[in-house]
């Protein structure tokens, strides 16, 4: 099997190709495609400081609401997960078990990656406290999701928290040490 590159790929960088095919003047004379806009290099600078401050507070409030939005995102999935885990029953099947494990692992991953989740609103010192409280809320909601997962695993009996789970480790009593009994 001969490996041969495509023809145009071979001719892409040859001198003849650059000199003959690409002609600047031709390109420049062509009209721009629809929707294409040439950005002007020189922009008018805002000088009004009052509007600037107003703008910053607006941005801050926007950022704060954005932070709250991020924090509320896991809360929205709580009712759905609750219903899902209730409806799927307590039978030991691979899909409900996987779902419950995902409910456990998802929040852990989310909490560990909290900075990346809040990245768009981080770095602004003025709203840091608001972002922090949003982060706490976020962790709380993730905790709630985890709790649903734990409850689910518990209802399936997969968490060894009862006496019966540790029964095999309990020792038998050897009553007949050095004793033999025969019954006629």
């Amino acid at each position: 099997m001969a490996c041969e590159p495509y023809d145009w790929a071979v001719r892409l960088c040859t001198e003849a190709a650059t000199s003959t095919i690409i002609d600047d003047s031709v390109i420049k004379s062509l009209p721009s495609p629809p929707g294409f806009k040439v950005i002007e290099k020189s922009q008018k600078k805002e000088t009004n400081t009052g509007t600037d401050e107003k703008r910053t507070t607006e941005i801050n409030s926007l950022l704060a609401s954005k932070a709250m939005q991020i924090a509320m995102a896991p809360a929205k999935s709580i009712p759905m997960n609750m219903i899902m885990s209730y409806m799927s029953g307590t039978s030991l099947q691979i899909i409900p078990i996987m779902a419950a494990l995902m409910l456990l692992s998802g929040p852990i991953k989310a909490i560990l990656g909290i900075r990346s989740a809040f990245k768009p609103v981080l770095g602004n010192k003025e709203i840091q406290s608001q972002v922090n409280s949003a982060m706490i809320l976020y962790i709380l909601f993730q905790g709630a999701l985890m709790y649903i997962g734990l409850r689910k695993l518990n209802s399936m009996g997969l968490i060894p928290n009862t006496k019966s789970d540790w029964l095999s480790w309990e020792k038998h009593v050897d009553y007949n040490k050095n004793i033999k009994s025969f019954v006629f």
Partner: protein
Amino acid sequence: MAPLTIFFLLFFYLKNSIVTAVFADEAYTVDWQIQNIGTYNCVLENSLDDILVILSELDSKTLLAYVNETDGSLISRNLLDYKVSDAMMIPNSANFVLQNDKTGKLETYESLHGYPVQNFTIDLTDFKPSCKPNLENIKRSNELIQVIDPESKLTLFHAILPATVKDIVLLSTNYVSSLKVFSLLDNSSYVFQSYNNGELVNEWTRNELWNEINAHTVVEIADKSMENVLDEMIIENNTSNPILAYFTRLTMNWKRFLQLMERNGYNPGRVLTDILSLNNNEEFDSKFIENQNLKFGFSKYLIVATEANELIALDIVHNGKKVWSLKTKLTNIKFLDFVPTTDKLVVVAEDGSFEKYDLSNRNNPKFLTSGRVAVNDVISFKRVTDKGLENDYYLVKSKDGKKATINLGGQDKNINNSDTIYVTDHDKHGVTGYVMNSENGELIHTWSFELLPNQEIINFVEKDISTKPVSIANVLGNRDVSYKYLYPNLAALIITNKDTGEIYINVIDTLTGQLLVNEKQEDKPDFNLPINLIFGEHWIIYSYFSSEPVPETKIAVIELYESLIPNQRLSNPESAGNALLGANLPEIVSKSFLFPEIIKTMTLSKTKFGISVDAIIMELESGQITFIPKFVLNARRKEEKDMTDSDKKEFMASPYVAAIPINDHFVITHFRNLLMGEGSKIISLPTNLESTSIICDIGNDIFCTRISPSGQFDVMRPNFEKGKLLVTMIVMLLLCYFIRPFVITKKLKAMWLVKE
């Protein structure tokens, strides 16, 4: 939602795991029956239909057996309610007349189907007792038998009987050409010979192996094929370094692979068919099945001691085929004991004489020694298995209540055992406890449990502690636990009180004589019908027939727990160790159930590890054998309205319903008709398969089958999914070594914009 899910789960679980019916392909192949007739007291011939009617005795009643005259096969049997003194065949008809031994009355039966004939009367004067063969005009000298013409007194024709003929049970001739002789041989088999003009035209033999079985034991045929694997496992277990152990396993498997290659002559095709078990050669199959039977522990010999003091070994796997038989010099054999560690079979007779056989070769018993112990009228015999004692030590009890420790080895060695031996003995009037003197084996009286004069012990069962309990507690529905009362030295007894008509069910500590459980049944139990009792892991089950409030068989279960409070454990594994200090008193839960048939005998199924569900095997008065899983006879069953959601989650929990029906799927004798007689005994033998237990009912007949109370969860086809596994492995290999690199180069080429 949740209850519905549980319902469906339970439904499917029950559907999948509790289908333990005898399937058509297993019936008559897995189970077998030896239909015994016994000693022929009388033989009648229905020459019209070629049927022989054989009269024998069972439980002081007469047993009628109908046998095909042409091949000797048994057509049917019928146990009468009375004993017959004599019988007569009505000439030129299919009917025969029986005379009642007690009343002298005559009754007519027809020999084709065995039904009584109602509208037929025969006068006593016409009744000619014909049980004794009519040897008129017959001349017999040793083996030669001559038929003489009644008129001319000349010999018409003659026949030669086998040399070992002991007795003639039937002789019929037409004084022209035919002669039929049915005779008993020396080896208790019966031979039927039909002669025409002195020439033998038909001959068959029926082996009536016994009249009654006095004792039995079971000998397992050891599976030698697994010894190699066992050795390998021991080597692997003894290797402390896990990497080295893994390497050992790897080299062993490699060796096994090389052996497989060598066995198949390094032919890949044959190796593959061997792996896939595609060889359907018949010879290979029977050998393969033989090996599987050995591996699964099905190969066992049932050794029975007959009334004629003969030992007969029957192969349980091969439909009860007689493997060997030997005549002992003992009279009235009482006990058979097989010691697996030394391969010795001990046979003890009632008068204390014994014989020992070596059974290292299971197919060829060798006589070792014989002797006599100084105890007359032996009624009970127990082997003392203890690390300090050899296997030759036995505890013997005689009819007059005397007990002794004896050594069948011959020499009266001192018993220098490290363990203290306690002996509990019982008779009708009480239970007594003894402790053995460790020096001379003498029994010293320690305690007594005495009854009132009107009371009587009718059933006494000790707790079987040969299998260690799998778990120490029952898991409840909410995953809490209820600790079982697992104190081992227990015995249960049923006492009747003839004056009040009550029965008492007691559980006592066999070391101290302490009474632990005392229950009473006042619903007029019938003392004439069987009262059965079994002791399980932490429960006892007893059955009796009572006439109040409705005449019905009742099965009651008493379960013993450490405490009825969940999760409360009273026994302490650290401090316990002396049973003499006594265990805590048990707390009990009990329930009674109604059963539609009279239960004759009852036993508990035994499996190798005791993980399978316990089954209570019952021989019914109707001659059928059925079983009930223990979870049906659960003392903690509640009425449906009292059951909580978590109660329903408990393993096999079901609401309490008093009546237990007989489920056809659980009747393990299916179409068979057993005639067990009184004193029959059911035994359960564990096999190497945890799910399966061999059940044998030993009485007048012998019936053996296999049951799996929890379903055959550990039984797989020999080529179990091998095809799928191999295909998966091939696909994985292809993926790893061919497709994956191919895809990688393709991707690389595409990146480099290389055209193929």
